[in-house]
Symmetry: C2
Subunit: 447 residues, 2 copies
């Protein structure tokens, strides 16, 4: 057991609340600050991609006995549903029989997590704006406005779980030897909505992640508990098919008629939603170090904001907590070592999932409609079923295993090189499940 | 002529003062703000690598008739003086006969530039701290402290020439779609000093940039007007030979005796200077965009801080001014286009000189002592003398031409590929100036 400390967590999002539960269980006094009102008291804003929970997220919840509680508000999703432009709908399984990711509403999940944290005895201070931090003394500065009067809040430790635009990281950034980058994608996104049928049934399969891949843009949809779907249109901000080009109702309808004809019946309020909902942006944030002495640590998006295309943002943040917790158990009261080992362990994995997530936009929006890519996936699945100990597809490593992301990335690249050679084989379309292909892969695995 | 505007320049460094002169000449009212006292009234801090001015810097000064004035306070440097560990001293010419860079003291140059700007009618406000800017209205916020009361200063345009840790960029960074990165090198630096002899003569050649290359660390020296030398030790912050390892007088003297034996006589106050002078850090800052509408623009280090190993930091900043001025002449009162074209023109060149400067650390600290590299330089010089229209060495493109940095980088990479092939030729050490080598290069240039 650690010596009890007074700990502040800045941010009451998913990572902040779960971290607070872990710290409380470890015997500390935990105060969580958030600039926003209590999420349980507000309407949702309609500006959040639905989340998917996969193995890394479940692991962090299971370790504190919360997985069952959360599983009740999720919907298992075991495949992609690929909607081609000609109306064809194909399904691609994500993993083996029985493997699934879980679709969750960010808002519903976050409310649940605050409830659970409160039950544990975590103290929440909503509508408390943290503007700055003294890193050396773990003192927070709180007030109504950036230029107004601030109250000093002294803690033993401070965690910055305050997201991609973290104020805690903002202070760290102004130190010497702090590496930091923020990079915005040239792609924006907008939420759309597929309601349930009048009888409460779903218009499309709820156990699929639906994708309408169209090259450099795509629509995707994930089911909600009420059989409606939250959809997200990802599209370049400027250029040929872009948000800039869709200026009015006519251009919107023409665009959807051309590229997403099969959505006409399922998205009734397209025009209203498109022009009412904001266009949001996607950024990748990286930094190092993540901690300051034994006083301050960043966790989740504040230290590694990624793009959403692998569905790993929350999972990576929850895995931060798993690793931090392991270090707390290993190093007891030596917080300097806990923080140092935590950041050294997590940084290469955060970089790897950032890279994998970026690459997955191309996979989702373009490759899922590509015959060669579909064949590659088919061969991988076939070979993996035959030799499960020799081949786990990259998606499964990332999603259904706890293998460090950096290893998954490296092995995935190696496997991809092998598959590129295999796809060069003559008549591979016909011979894909032959002994010859099997031997070729086995041989390439030896190299 | 442009419509006169009220323009604020934040930062009275080299780029800020020269920009102010250009803007004043163009008919504007120009106020320069700096948080520091007037540099003409303070002692220098002993924390600045000497500068070198080369063609791009001279071009910007010549266009406003200031080059002659500045040339008087510089020392021409036409070669590297390479001090090997065994005491051998070799010289490597920088360019052709008559080509030289100019060594300048940052402090003396900056004082001169403030004098010149004041003479032009630029208004200076020293010890005025700018904490924030409203980008949409070009309003500066000035005050004694970040949390104190601020005065609003309304302008038509604001230029952020406030260096690597720019407050103006800091505000821009908090916008959506603003890309930004800061990366610190694992190498630090410290100033040392070679005084002149008692009779006023110099201890080593003043027309050379002296380098003591030792692999992953090096010492360098540039002459001052009084025949003393400002030296800089560049060395890893941690590791085998590092600042972390030199903890006391004994370890310092042992280290210098081993690696820099020929400096014993010329750096008399090594111990005092080493422990008195701070260890400084090197960072690379990149961002985009550099401007906001027709209101705010970044210039110099605030938009592209680079490492000093190519001696191009100030030159790149001065070239920003040349290009901005060209755009002002081309687009008149259309400042939105001026700013847009300025940033589009400069960004790839700023990225290129950032890359070239980083690579040049390896060239200076390691390759200058490498026989293969010396041979390559010799062949390039020989071939370039024979075929000046076919080959200009990369260093000359960067230093003695006005070719855009991005082109210099691309052509330099192409030339280097050719040289790597040439160095593979049998007996190249003997045949380096043969017809065979000449023909080989001519042939490779055709590809």
């Amino acid at each position: 057991m650690q010596t009890p400390h007074k700990i502040a967590v800045v941010g009451s999002g998913l990572v902040g609340t779960l971290l607070a539960i872990y710290l409380k269980r470890a015997g500390h006094t935990v105060d969580v600050y958030d600039r926003s009102p209590d999420i349980r008291t507000v309407e949702f804003s309609g500006r959040s991609i639905n989340l998917v929970m996969s193995n890394r997220g479940w692991k962090a919840l299971e370790d504190v006995g919360l997985a069952e509680e959360i599983r009740k508000i999720g919907i298992p999703v075991d495949k992609r549903g690929i909607h081609l432009q000609d109306g064809t709908l194909n399904y691609q399984a994500y993993g083996k029989e029985g493997e699934a990711i879980f679709s969750l509403s960010r808002g519903i999940l976050n409310r649940k997590m605050v409830d659970l944290a409160e039950k544990e005895g975590v103290n929440f201070f909503f509508e408390h704006k943290i503007w700055d931090v003294n890193l050396a003394t773990a003192t927070l500065f709180e007030g109504d406005s950036e230029q107004g009067n601030w109250t000093e809040l002294k803690y033993d430790k401070v965690f910055g779980a305050d997201g991609a635009f973290s104020r805690i990281r903002h202070r760290m950034q102004r130190q010497s030897m702090f590496d930091y980058s923020q990079e915005f994608m040239k792609i924006g996104y907008k939420e759309l909505y597929i309601p349930a049928n009048a009888d409460g049934s779903a218009k499309i399969d709820i156990n699929s992640l639906h994708i309408w891949p169209r090259g450099n843009f795509m629509l995707m949809g994930l089911a909600n508990l009420d059989n409606s779907f939250t959809c997200t249109l990802f599209m370049p901000i400027e250029g040929e098919n872009s948000f800039a080009k869709i200026k009015d109702e006519a251009s919107l309808v023409t665009f959807f008629d051309k590229y997403f004809p099969d959505t006409k019946e399922v998205i009734p309020d397209l025009v209203r939603d498109f022009f009412k909902n904001p266009t949001s942006y996607l950024a990748i944030m990286k930094c190092f170090p993540w901690t300051y002495e034994d006083k301050v640590a960043l966790i989740g998006d504040s230290s590694h904001a990624i793009v959403p295309f692998y569905g790993q943002g929350m999972n990576a943040g929850f895995e931060d907590i798993t690793i931090l917790s392991e270090m707390m158990q290993k190093y007891g009261d030596d917080w300097k070592t806990i923080f140092k080992e935590y950041e050294i362990s997590r940084k290469p994995n955060a970089d790897a999932i950032a890279e994998l997530s970026l690459r997955n936009f191309i996979e989702m929006s373009d490759l899922t409609a590509d015959a060669n890519f579909i064949l590659q996936k088919k061969i991988e699945k076939w070979f993996s079923d035959k030799h499960p100990e020799k081949w786990m597809p990259l998606y499964s490593r990332v999603t259904f295993s706890l293998q460090p992301y950096s290893e998954a990335l490296a092995i995935g690249d190696f496997q991809n090189e092998i598959m590129q050679e295999v796809l060069q084989m003559e008549n591979i379309e016909q011979l894909w499940d032959s002994k010859e292909v099997e031997n070729k892969i086995l041989e390439l695995l030896q190299d």
